[in-house]
């Protein structure tokens, strides 16, 4: 018996050493509980939208009077729903919270991660054609390939559309001044803290519908999922006691109008030409080869090699803020064999041999490669945390994401223009002694996308959250240097990219400074 006790104790000790903690739920997004907004921004409807001419561009009729039978019936409907929520409905109300755009950004990040998978060569070693033959619909599993250029553009469209939808909502909220439901009927149990903002139209519905339509256009193989999410978001407003059906309908009208404006732009912004076919790509290679004698031009080093780089003509996409890519294009990278090049090459070889564990961790922390939300997504997550910390209302939230993502988009087109203008080789291509922590992406080296995106991201977020400017600067620098630690970029790719990114971010900040929302 005594022996058994000894044995049992030993086993328990073993168990205890192994399992020191029970598992907790792993967060899938920013963790926040619904909050009181730091401001109401009664004049928000007068701010300058990004694409709409003004918040009043969409025509929204005056709502029924709060004393009307029609409105009382709507209120009764909300009370009925609101007082008998199922557990699932309560969970949905809690999930969306009272800043739904934060969740939409996360949904977009998840879609980006899902589709961010470079095409697979298959058993024959033949990659699929980079551009689907006209008249065919690409298979769902690999369309669209949500690489960093695609993804930064996607975030820009949904967040700029959300901002315009929010401005338009604010315009009519403070034009018609239909009071928040809880003010008309004190028996409504609002699921969130009271924010005394007029309920008509519902800004959440306007945002949900504008993003739903935009995402459906960008991810045509996931329209069912996206539309379910949008319906859930709108329905949850009634469950939460936040909006009536007419509030939602008016918001939905705004969302539809805004989405049409944005989808029309997206069809004409040249993005459809960004990914070239093989023949067109080969002609770009010939031009680059003739133009640059100071370096061996870039080629893909995967095995088997990918025949076409990612979006060689993304630089031709219409910018949001910069006048054109040529204006912000940096000068050429160093010639191979120059002193600067030799120093950069030596650094690559040094990190190949002697990168510290901490440097490798930084490389992986910022890797943001396949199956992730890309660097732009990383900056959205950083922004979302600050937004909820600052208790921003939906309009201010949309404003931050709109400028952040349009700036990051312009950083993307500028960087891609630079990449395919100079066609500079990746370190491991130039010197096969160089080893990397993960695979070199399928586009030229100079400048670094991470660095350019991060410079722009830090510039914009520092404008909106000046108290955190040093932190954003540190993040941007670390994101930039992570590519050196990973040995997939030369130091000059990163340093120049970071500077250009800051410069581009400044264009967006200059626009924000005069949009009325400062």
């Amino acid at each position: 018996m005594k022996k058994n006790i000894i044995v049992f104790s030993l086993l328990l000790v073993t168990a205890a050493i192994t399992f020191n903690a029970c598992e907790k739920d792993i967060p899938q997004g920013v963790t926040y509980t619904a909050y009181t907004y730091a401001s109401k921004d009664e004049d928000g409807g007068t701010w300058d939208p990004i694409l709409l001419t003004a918040g009043s561009e969409v025509i929204i009729d005056a709502p029924a009077d709060v004393a009307s039978a029609e409105y009382l019936a709507e209120l009764a409907e909300v009370k009925d729903l609101n007082s008998s929520l199922s557990d699932d409905q309560q969970e949905i109300v809690d999930y969306w919270g009272n800043n739904t755009l934060v969740r939409w950004i996360e949904i977009a990040e998840e879609l980006a991660a899902k589709y961010n998978l470079p095409p697979d060569p298959g058993p024959e070693g033949n990659y699929p054609p980079p551009v689907a033959p006209s008249g065919t619909t690409p298979a769902s599993s690999d369309f669209p390939f949500s690489h960093p250029p695609f993804t930064c553009r996607m975030y820009a469209y949904i967040s700029a559309a959300a901002y315009d939808a929010a401005i338009s909502s604010w315009h009519y909220k403070y034009t018609y001044n239909r009071p928040a439901l809880y003010k008309t009927d004190a028996s409504i149990e609002l699921a969130y803290p009271q924010n005394d903002i007029p309920s008509y139209p519902s800004e959440d519905a306007a945002i949900a519908t504008s993003i739903e339509k935009m995402l459906n256009a960008l991810f045509p193989n996931d329209v069912t999922y996206i539309s379910e999410k949008a319906k859930e978001c709108r329905d949850s407003r009634m469950w939460a006691g936040l909006a009536t059906q007419s509030d939602l309908n008016a918001g939905d009208s705004i969302g539809r109008h805004v989405a049409n404006v944005y989808i029309t732009r997206s069809k004409n912004d040249n993005a459809k030409f960004a990914q070239t076919n093989k023949a067109s790509y080969d002609s770009l290679v010939v031009i680059a080869d003739a133009m640059w004698n100071d370096w061996i031009i870039w080629k893909n080093i995967d095995i088997p090699p990918r025949p076409v780089g990612v979006t060689p003509k993304f630089g031709g996409v219409t910018p949001w803020w910069i006048p054109d890519v040529e204006t912000v294009r940096p000068g050429p990278p160093p010639a191979q064999g120059s002193a600067e090049y030799i120093a950069a090459e030596k650094e690559m070889l040094d990190f190949t041999e002697n990168a510290t564990k901490e440097q490798e961790r930084i490389a992986f922390f910022w890797s943001d490669g396949p199956s992730t939300y890309t660097p732009a997504g990383h900056w959205n997550l950083l922004g979302a945390e600050k937004i909820v910390d600052a208790a921003m209302n939906p309009l201010r939230t949309a404003r931050v994401f709109a400028y952040l993502n349009t700036a990051i988009h312009d950083a993307g087109i500028s960087c891609w223009d630079t990449k395919y203008y100079y066609f500079y080789p990746r370190p491991a291509q130039a010197n096969p002694e160089i080893r990397t922590t993960f695979m070199s992406p399928n586009f030229p080296s100079y400048t670094s996308g991470h660095s350019t995106f991060s410079g722009a991201g830090a510039e914009v977020l520092s404008h909106f959250f000046p108290g955190s400017a040093a932190e954003f600067e540190d993040f941007a620098k670390e994101a930039s240097e992570s590519r050196i630690y990973a040995r997939i970029h030369w130091r000059f790719d990163c340093e120049v990219g970071l500077d250009v990114g800051h410069n581009i971010g400044d264009y967006a900040v200059s626009a924000a400074a005069v949009d009325g929302g400062e």
Partner: protein, 349 residues
């Protein structure tokens, strides 16, 4: 829930698992379009099986050391593969070529009291691809401790029936990066409860069946966002699927249970959850990793060697899911002596 289960299963587990767990679970993963192996495990597990055979064995076998007996071992294992299963499709990846994982392991087993052995081990792993530009990686992997207890040793017919249980715990022993394309481990703790049943005839022929249940802790990534299946997580914490393993072994062991042993083994490892590697994507720690393997183990302790013994083992992966199709071969040197109970041990033999 999981914690509760883990404790429950730990009641049965023993040290031997250390090895077994490491090996089987992990060990092949693919990452970054290349595959990642947490190869140590695969290799090691095979090794481990024989590692302690001579005197005391592993948490997964039916051999016990007497109180005071100590067996230390240094093992080496080489595992290589040029194909892996992406989901259930067996493919090659030109960016990896042939993946090789080498393990040097150090460990010991000690007889504590009658019917109870304890084990500990620590492997050093070196992984590298033959092609592509992604660096290999190396380092100390996971520390394992285990305890094994014999519940039953009964004469039945012209042989003995034995029943044992063991509890094993493993923990990462260095801060290796689990999402490295060639990571050396899964970056999570593992607790294994194991039950072993064996019958050995008086002539030395034996048959053994054993099974283990693995309760795995969370894996911690370097990065703060990841996507599995259909869901994104804004965290560096990965919920790892639990797993089971089972094996059947037949073999021959000389009568004193230590001079010579040869056995053939069929083993299966199954993750209880996880997801498939997406096309040409790199592997992820919480992929569903399954493997079916066959192997053979030998150990020899020459009379003249003054306590030293030799181990040799090999294994081949017949089928799998999200693991490398490995072939491994390993060996080791063991050294046996009595720390206490010297006379008693001698007389027992």
């Amino acid at each position: 829930m999981k914690c509760k289960d883990s404790l429950k299963c730990m009641e049965n587990a023993t040290i031997a698992n250390i090895f077994a767990a490491m090996n089987k679970n992990n060990y092949l993963k693919m990452k970054l379009r290349s595959i990642l192996l947490k190869p140590g495990s695969i290799l090691f597990c095979t090794v481990s099986f024989f590692f302690f055979n001579v005197h005391a064995q592993t948490p997964a076998d039916a051999v016990l050391m007497q109180p005071g007996q100590f067996c230390g071992a240094i093992t080496f294992n080489n595992s290589s593969a040029s194909e892996y299963w992406q989901g259930d499709s067996l493919i090659e990846n030109g960016n990896v070529g042939t993946f090789t994982s080498q393990t040097i392991g150090a460990g010991f087993v000690l007889g504590v009291i009658k019917n109870l052995n304890v084990y500990a081990s620590l492997p050093l792993i070196m992984n590298k691809p033959s092609a592509g530009f992604v660096e290999g990686t190396s380092g100390i992997q996971d520390f394992t401790i285990a305890a094994k207890y014999q519940l039953l040793d009964k004469k039945i017919g012209s042989g003995n029936l034995k029943a044992l249980v063991s509890a094993t715990g493993t923990l990462p022993a260095s801060n290796y990066i689990p999402e490295h394309p060639y990571a050396i481990g899964l970056g999570c703790s593992d607790g294994i409860g194991r039950a072993i049943l064996a019958y050995k005839t008086d002539l030395g022929v034996f048959a053994k069946a054993q099974t283990g249940y693995h309760v795995r802790g969370n894996c911690e990534l370097a990065r703060g966002y990841y996507f599995t299946d259909e869901e994104g997580y804004s965290s560096n914490i990965v919920d790892m699927p639990n797993a089971i393993d089972y094996s059947a072994t037949i073999g021959y062991i000389t009568e004193d249970s230590r001079t010579f042993k040869a056995e053939a083994e069929f083993s299966v490892f199954n993750s209880l959850g996880g997801f498939d590697i997406r096309p040409w994507d790199q592997g992820f720690p919480s992929n569903e990793m399954d493997a079916m393997r066959i192997g053979a183990n030998f150990q020899y302790i020459p009379e003249y060697a003054k306590g030293f013994g030799l181990l040799l083992n090999t294994a081949y992966t017949l089928d799998g899911r999200n693991v490398w199709k490995t072939f491994n071969i390993g060996g080791g040197i063991t050294y046996f002596f009595n720390i206490w109970n010297k006379e008693e041990a001698a007389s027992a033999e």
